[in-house]
Amino acid sequence: MAVAREATPVESAADVRDADLDREDLIQIYRNMLITRGIEERGHILYRQGKIPGSFYTGRGNEGAAVGVATAMRAHDVGAAVQRDMGVHVTRGTEPWRIFAQYMGRVDGLAAGRDGNVHMADLRLGLIAMVSHLPAMMPVAVGCALAFKIRKEHRVAVGWSGDGAMARGDAHEAMNLAGVHRLPVVFVVDNNQYAYSTPNRLEFGVDHLADRAEAYGFEGVLVDGTDVLTVYREAHRAIEKAREGGGPTLLELVTLRMEGHAVHDDAFYVPRELLEAYTKKDPIERYRRWLKEQGVLDEVAEDAVSADVKKLLGDALKRADESPLPAPESVLDGVYAEPEELETPHHQ
């Protein structure tokens, strides 16, 4: 059996220097993870308060995976993140108040109330809004990479998928096309071991999804997705390799979905021991400990970050709640784009 390369963990400060991160970066990563979790925790509260219509999904346990990859992307890179990747939006600079507004279906949400949850993105931040149908954004990410190749731009596209969604034809067609043309794209699988109630063993017959990369002629890497720095290093390598013409990489980031598929699901089908094991590997806690051990963060700095995030999110909640619901009569607007909308630098 082919085995994808298994990433060795980043452990020491020296490893980190190799990975091109300074102290500020390290703290920024921590901050982004806290914001990510903070947003989703507050989302739960909003949901219970009846302020979020429909259902509610979180990415608890995936904060390191999402923030790690997004940190490795450069400003002009683009990506299409999926349902557990709030950390990508946060890291790319999406303002938390707009995310809360999104949750609540307000006009200042990224989808202005037309879509909900994490079905959102700000293209100006290089992010493309996912659709529900998984993993339909993988071919779209490949198309971005194709544009970069045609225009000879040194930009990279990142296409995300869950483990379950890798069973769909879109994943295959996307990876195959990318492999044939050696496009500058990195595929990231958030393998949280479940697709709704379906465990990995009922999703695929291979040991690791990363092993599939070879079937398309590129490299696969298996990464502990709870270890943000290792995720960062592998994403950085893959992204820069793609940028330099080295073609695609498939990164499989292994985590566990720490909450139900959505609010209504108590995830009774996840074995308790597995949940306990991954509770111990909580990505934020793990990283915080490491920062302390390495002396990057002391009590004072830690408290400062926490306080800062708390204030940010508190303010964001308030601002989001002031955002109005969309006007009913606007329902008909915007089915079609107008020609002027293409008269932007982006489209020229």
């Binding site: 109330g113 034809g169 619901l325 969309p326």
Partner: protein, 325 residues
């Protein structure tokens, strides 16, 4: 007779057919251990085992294509799309393979695709759609859209027994909200026979699925107010659809509203309206009025979704306008 929810009725129909006929099996995402996203198949894995209740990978194409293969081998597969919206990922297998195999080479493809559909609870653009309109345009497929618990059971049973591919649209908003009498024991409802949900003489509303209830509220409101007598015809199945029953109602009332939750342009309402206008032109005292969702995706935010879905007030207004014509 027992009173059951719409969801229970579907569940019962499936269970009884599985007990009756060992060729029937279920496949879909999260239908086994989890019992289905809406719990329609709760307890089935325990009763029938994992050979007949299969938790599939996230693969709509393989699920539907797989059902076709199994059906050709003599099985009676019933698959579930977790939400009807995801049937777009199996469009080719349905329209290209399942729908055309019998016409091309004479081999029946008796499969059922269960499709939890419809909006009304902020599911957003991808968990609220009514994609029946696309499939009504495809010869070779049959389409059922039950509105009542009795029909939900009767039509799922009939769908399983039908020798053709059947799309079974179950409206999510009816699942637990609607209760009704369901005949005990074997109960199958013939395809292509509409049901007069409410008798009336002034105006006909031709509809199906959840809109039957919207029509009913509107009909009651105008009846209470000024005695306008509205007849509601519930189509129950779209392919085939009961032209005779529709024409009979139109002959009586001479004024028609066609009502559906699916979007407007080229929705099934266009087919009904065009057929009425073609076949009973001389009977009409007013143009056939279509009342549907507008031509937009289904928006998420409550005020938008409310503006999107046909509301009781919209139906009342349409009745008033048509009365005044």
């Amino acid at each position: 007779m027992a009173t059951k929810t719409y969801l229970q009725a579907i569940s019962d129909g499936l269970r009884e057919e599985m007990r009756r006929d060992s060729r029937v099996f279920l496949i879909g995402e999260d239908i086994g251990v989890y019992g289905g996203a809406f719990k329609v198949t709760q307890g089935f894995l325990q009763e029938f085992g994992d050979d007949r209740v299969i938790d599939a990978p996230l693969s709509e194409t393989a699920i539907v294509g797989g059902c076709t293969g199994a059906a050709l081998m003599g099985m009676r597969p019933v698959c579930e799309m977790q939400f009807s919206d995801f049937v777009s990922c199996a469009f080719d297998q349905l329209v290209t393979v399942a729908a055309k195999q019998h016409y091309r080479v004479g081999t029946p493809v008796p499969i059922v695709v269960r499709l939890p559909s419809g909006g009304g609870f902020s599911g957003g653009p991808f968990h609220s759609q009514n994609p029946e309109g696309f499939f009504a345009h495809c010869p070779g497929l049959k389409i059922a859209c039950p509105a009542t618990p009795a029909d939900a059971k009767g039509l799922i049973v009939q769908a399983i027994r039908d020798p053709n591919p059947v799309l079974f649209f179950e409206h999510k908003h009816l699942y637990r909200r609607i209760k009704g009498e369901v005949p005990d024991g074997e109960h199958a409802v013939e395809f292509g026979k509409a049901r007069v949900h409410r008798e009336g003489s002034d105006i006909s509303i031709i509809t199906y699925g959840a809109m039957v209830y919207t029509a009913e509220e509107a009909a009651q409101a105008v009846a209470d107010r000024d005695g306008t007598s509205v007849e509601i015809v519930d189509l129950r199945t779209l392919t085939p659809w009961d032209k005779q029953a529709v024409m009979a109602s139109v002959a009586k009332t001479s004024k028609v509203i066609v009502l559906h939750e699916d979007t407007h342009t080229s929705g099934f309402g266009a087919e009904i309206a065009a057929t009425i206008a073609e076949e009973v032109f001389e009977n009409l005292d007013a143009p056939v009025r279509r009342l549907t969702a507008p031509d937009t995706p289904v928006p998420f935010s409550p005020p938008l979704e409310k503006a999107y879905l046909p509301q009781v007030e919209d139906v009342v207004t349409a009745i008033e306008e048509l009365s005044a014509y």
